[in-house]
C-alpha cells in the first residue's frame, strides 16, 4: 500500500504555488512536508483528499495503491484527514463520533467492541458516553485520530495536527499518532511548521521542491 505523488504541480491563475512535487510514501511511513506559510502545504493535502477548489489547476497524478485518485470524488478516495482543529461533531458524544466512522454493514455489537478497543488503546476507556465539550484538548485530539483510523483509510493526511497543543501534550500526541499509523500500516503525509514533528531522517521542503535532512 503506497501513496504516490507523481510530478504534481498546482497553480492558480497560471502561477505555480510550488516546484513540482514527486514522492512515494510506502505503507507504515510518514512523510513530512514543510515550508513557510502560504507556500501551498495544505493545498497539496486538499488536492489529495479531493477537496481542492477547481479555481486551482492541477498537473500530475496521485495514486493510492496504483489507483489514480484525481478523478475520484472525496468520499471514494479512502483517504483520512486530521486537521489542527479536532472537528469532533458537537451533536454526537464520543461513542457516536467514533461510530460514524465505522462501515454500515457491520453489526452494532462489533462496532461497539471496536470502539471500546480503540478507546482502550488510547487510554480513554469509559469515555464513550462523554459529551465532547467535556473533554480536554489532548483527549479530543486522540478521539479525533481514533475516528479517522476507525474508517480504515488506505492513507492518512495530517494537516498540522500538533500545532494547537501545548509542548507536553504535543509530544505524547505525536507519539500516539505515529504509533497508530505504524500499527495500521498505512502511508501518511504530515504537514508541519515545526521541525520537531519531522518523522524519519528527512523532510520534503515544499519551497525548494527537495528532500532535506531533519
Amino acid at each position: 500500500m503506497s501513496l504516490l505523488i507523481n510530478h504534481l504541480k498546482i497553480s492558480i491563475n497560471g502561477k505555480s504555488l510550488f516546484p513540482e512535487v514527486h514522492m512515494e510514501i510506502t505503507k507504515g511511513n510518514i512523510q513530512t512536508l514543510m515550508g513557510p506559510s502560504g507556500c501551498g502545504k495544505s493545498t497539496i493535502l486538499a488536492a489529495i483528499s479531493g477537496t481542492l477548489s477547481t479555481n486551482f489547476s492541477i498537473a500530475g497524478e496521485i495514486f493510492l495503491d496504483d489507483l489514480p485518485l484525481m478523478n475520484l470524488p472525496t468520499e471514494e478516495r479512502q483517504v483520512g484527514i486530521l486537521f489542527q482543529d479536532d472537528l469532533l461533531f458537537p451533536h454526537f458524544n464520543v461513542c457516536q463520533n467514533l461510530m460514524f466512522a465505522l462501515p454500515q454493514n457491520i453489526s452494532k455489537k462489533v462496532k461497539l467492541s471496536r470502539i471500546f478497543q480503540a478507546l482502550e488503546s488510547a487510554g480513554l476507556q469509559g469515555f464513550d458516553k462523554r459529551d465532547i465539550a467535556t473533554l480536554s484538548g489532548g483527549q479530543r485530539a486522540r478521539i479525533s485520530m481514533l475516528r479517522a483510523l476507525l474508517a480504515e483509510p488506505k492513507a492518512i493526511l495530517l494537516d498540522e495536527p500538533f500545532s494547537k497543543l501545548d509542548a507536553e501534550l504535543k509530544l505524547s500526541f505525536r507519539e500516539f499518532v505515529f504509533n497508530k499509523i505504524k500499527e495500521m500500516n498505512i502511508p501518511a503525509l504530515l504537514v508541519s511548521h515545526d521541525r520537531a514533528d519531522c518523522y524519519g531522517d528527512q523532510y520534503f521542503d515544499l519551497q525548494t521542491g527537495q528532500f532535506k535532512q531533519c
Binding site: S49, N55, P73, E75, H91
Partner: protein, 567 residues
C-alpha cells in the same frame, strides 16, 4: 471544462418561484389598468381608468394619508432606532431593551394594532386608568385618536412596530463591520461616543441597511391590515382603497383598482428612488464634516430622552399584550373603570371551535410554505458551497436583492395579477394557490435568516464526515443538518410567523374559500365586540409564539447533553 451539478436546479426554482409571480402578477395587473381584461369584456386599451382614478374624490386625500404615514413612519423609525442604539448600546439599559423587544417583534402587525387600539382609543385602557380622577371623564371623550384622516395614528403604530425591526437590522449590520475596533480607535483619538457613531459607524452601516430601510418604506406605504384597523377610513389609505375596488361587487371597479395598483407601484418606486438619492446627497454633503475634527456633540446631552424612549418601546409591547389578555377574559368593563368588574371565559369558549378550524388552516399553509421554502433555501445555499468549490463565484449582493424584491414591491401592486393568473390556471382557491402565494413572502425571510449561519458553517466538518462515511448524503443529513438544526428551526419559525401574518395573499389567492386567523382577526377588528376581537388577536399572537417556543425548545431538548450545541 465547467462542471455542472443538479443543485443548480434550486436557484433556478427559487428564481421562478419568486420572480415569475411578481413579474406575471405585475403584467396581469397593469393590463387591466390600461383597459384590457377580456374576462369582464374589457378589450380596448385606454388611459381612461387613470383619468377616472385621478378624478376620484378620494384619490388626493388617500394618497396624502399614505405618504404621511408611509414616509413619516420610515423616517421616524429609522431616526428612533439610531437614537436608541447610539445612546444606549452596551449599557445596562440596552440589555433590558434587547430582552423586552422580543414580544414586540414577535407580535403580528394586526394583533399589535388591535392592542394599541384597545390601549389608546378614547375608551382605551390608558384613559380608563387616569379617569375620572385626572381627566374628569365619566364617559369616553369624542376624540379622533384612531383612524384620523391624515393617518397620524397609523404612522404612530407603524413607528412602534418598525423601530424594533430596524434596531434588529442595525444590530445585524454591526456584526458585519469591525465595530469594536472602530470604537476603540475612535475613543483613543478622543471622540465622544455619539461622534464615533455619526462619523465612523453610521457611514459604514448605511450601505448594509439600505435594503431593510427600503423594505420598511415599501411596507409602510402599502400596508393594508394595520391600515384597516387604525388607519383613516373616509377615505382610507391608498392601498386599502385599491383593495376595496378590487373586491367591489361591480367587476368593472377592478380596472380602476388596477390603475390604482399601477400608481401605487410608481409612488413606492419614486419614494424608494428618492431615499437612495437623498442617501447619496447626504453622504456627499456631509463628507467634509466627517473629518472636521469635532470631538463632542450636543446630542450627547440628550441621552435621558433615549432612556425614556427605550423604556417606552419596551413597555408598550408588554402593555399591548396585557390589554389583549384582559379584554379576552372580560365579561363587563365599564368606562371609566381601570379594570373589568366581571371576568369570563365565555368569549374564549364561544370563539374556540372557529379558532381551531382557522388555526388548522393557518398552520397547514404556514408549515407547507415554510418547509418548501426551507428545502429550496438549503438547496440554494448548498449550490453556493458547491459553486465556490468549483471555482464559480456567487454575487451575494444580487442574491440579497432578489430576496428583498417581494418585500420592496407593494403586495397590492401584483397580488391581483397573481389572482388573475390563478384564475386562468383554474387553481384559484386551492391549497396549491394558498401555499404558493404565501411562499413568495416566506422564502425571502427564510433565506435572510438562514443564509448567514449556513454560509459560516465550517465545511471541514462535512469534508471529514465525507472521508469517514464515504457518503455525501450521510454526511449531509447526519452531520451538517443536525449541526445546523438550531438556525434551521429558527428560520422555519420566522417563515411560519411570516405566513401566519399574511392578509392580502390569503384574501386574493383564497378566493373566499380560505380563512385564516389573520384574515378573521382583521375582519373582526372593523367593529366587532372588543372581547371577541381580543381573543382572536391574542390567538393570532399565540400561534407564532408556540412555534417559536418549539423551534427554540426542540434543539435544546434534542441536544440537552451536548454543551457545544448550546452555544
Amino acid at each position: 471544462m465547467r462542471v455542472k451539478s443538479t443543485l443548480v436546479l434550486f436557484p433556478i426554482l427559487c428564481l421562478i418561484l419568486l420572480l415569475a409571480p411578481i413579474l406575471l402578477g405585475l403584467v396581469s395587473t397593469w393590463l387591466p389598468a390600461f383597459g384590457y381584461m377580456p374576462v369582464i369584456g374589457a378589450t380596448h386599451f385606454s388611459l381612461s381608468y387613470f383619468n377616472a382614478l385621478f378624478q376620484h374624490p378620494a384619490f388626493t386625500a388617500s394618497v396624502t394619508s399614505t405618504l404621511v404615514s408611509g414616509i413619516g413612519a420610515t423616517v421616524l423609525s429609522l431616526a428612533l432606532a439610531f437614537w436608541v442604539i447610539m445612546h444606549l448600546y452596551g449599557t445596562r439599559s440596552w440589555a433590558f431593551l434587547q430582552k423586552s423587544l422580543s414580544p414586540l417583534l414577535a407580535m403580528p402587525h394586526a394583533a399589535f394594532a388591535i392592542g394599541i387600539a384597545l390601549l389608546i382609543s378614547p375608551s382605551g385602557w390608558l384613559l380608563r386608568i387616569i379617569s375620572p380622577d385626572i381627566t374628569g371623564f365619566d364617559s369616553p371623550p369624542d376624540w379622533l385618536i384612531l383612524k384620523d384622516p391624515k393617518g397620524y395614528s397609523l404612522l404612530f403604530v407603524l413607528v412602534l412596530k418598525e423601530t424594533p425591526f430596524l434596531i434588529l437590522m442595525i444590530l445585524s449590520a454591526l456584526n458585519q463591520i469591525k465595530f469594536r475596533e472602530t470604537f476603540w480607535v475612535g475613543s483613543s483619538l478622543g471622540y465622544s461616543s455619539i461622534r464615533i457613531w455619526s462619523r465612523l459607524v453610521i457611514p459604514q452601516l448605511m450601505p448594509k441597511l439600505r435594503l431593510p430601510i427600503l423594505a420598511v418604506a415599501a411596507y409602510s406605504l402599502s400596508v393594508v391590515d394595520i391600515s384597516l384597523i387604525v388607519g383613516p377610513s373616509a377615505p382610507p389609505t391608498f392601498a386599502v382603497l385599491i383593495n376595496r375596488w378590487f373586491n367591489d361587487p361591480d367587476v368593472s371597479m377592478r380596472l380602476l383598482g388596477s390603475a390604482g395598483a399601477v400608481v401605487l407601484f410608481l409612488i413606492v418606486a419614486l419614494v424608494l428612488l428618492s431615499i437612495l438619492i437623498i442617501e447619496q446627497l447626504l453622504a456627499k454633503t456631509t463628507a467634509s464634516n466627517l473629518v472636521n475634527g469635532s470631538r463632542r456633540s450636543i446630542i450627547s446631552t440628550l441621552r435621558p430622552l433615549a432612556y425614556g424612549l427605550n423604556y417606552s418601546l419596551s413597555i408598550i409591547g408588554i402593555v399591548c399584550l396585557a390589554v389583549l389578555i384582559i379584554w379576552s377574559f372580560t365579561q363587563v368593563w365599564r368606562f371609566p373603570d381601570a379594570l373589568p368588574s366581571a371576568y369570563s371565559l365565555k368569549y374564549w369558549a364561544k370563539s374556540w371551535p372557529n379558532l381551531v378550524d382557522l388555526s388548522i388552516t393557518s398552520v397547514t399553509i404556514a408549515l407547507a410554505s415554510t418547509l418548501i421554502s426551507a428545502i429550496i433555501v438549503v438547496g440554494c445555499l448548498e449550490f453556493e458551497v458547491w459553486a465556490k468549490r468549483n471555482g464559480q463565484s456567487i454575487n451575494h449582493q444580487r442574491v440579497l436583492l432578489l430576496n428583498y424584491l417581494p418585500l420592496l414591491i407593494p403586495q397590492i401592486a401584483f397580488i391581483f395579477g397573481v389572482q388573475v393568473l390563478l384564475l386562468w390556471a383554474h387553481v384559484e382557491g386551492t391549497w396549491f394557490s394558498m401555499v404558493w402565494s404565501h411562499l413568495i413572502f416566506v422564502l425571502p425571510y427564510v433565506f435572510l435568516t438562514l443564509s448567514g449561519v449556513y454560509r459560516g458553517y465550517d465545511q471541514r466538518f462535512y469534508d471529514v464526515a465525507l472521508t469517514l462515511s464515504g457518503s455525501k448524503w450521510k454526511s449531509f443529513y447526519q452531520i451538517k443538518l443536525p449541526m445546523l438544526l438550531k438556525p434551521l428551526l429558527y428560520s422555519t419559525a420566522i417563515g411560519c410567523s411570516v405566513s401566519l401574518a399574511q392578509y392580502l395573499p390569503t384574501l386574493f389567492a383564497g378566493a373566499g374559500r380560505f380563512s385564516t386567523v389573520t384574515t378573521e382577526t382583521v375582519n373582526l377588528a372593523s367593529g366587532s365586540d372588543r372581547r371577541v376581537m381580543a381573543v382572536y388577536a391574542l390567538w393570532q399572537f399565540a400561534i407564532p409564539l408556540i412555534i417559536f417556543a418549539l423551534a427554540i425548545g426542540l434543539p435544546n431538548r434534542i441536544f440537552k447533553d451536548r454543551v457545544a450545541m448550546k452555544s
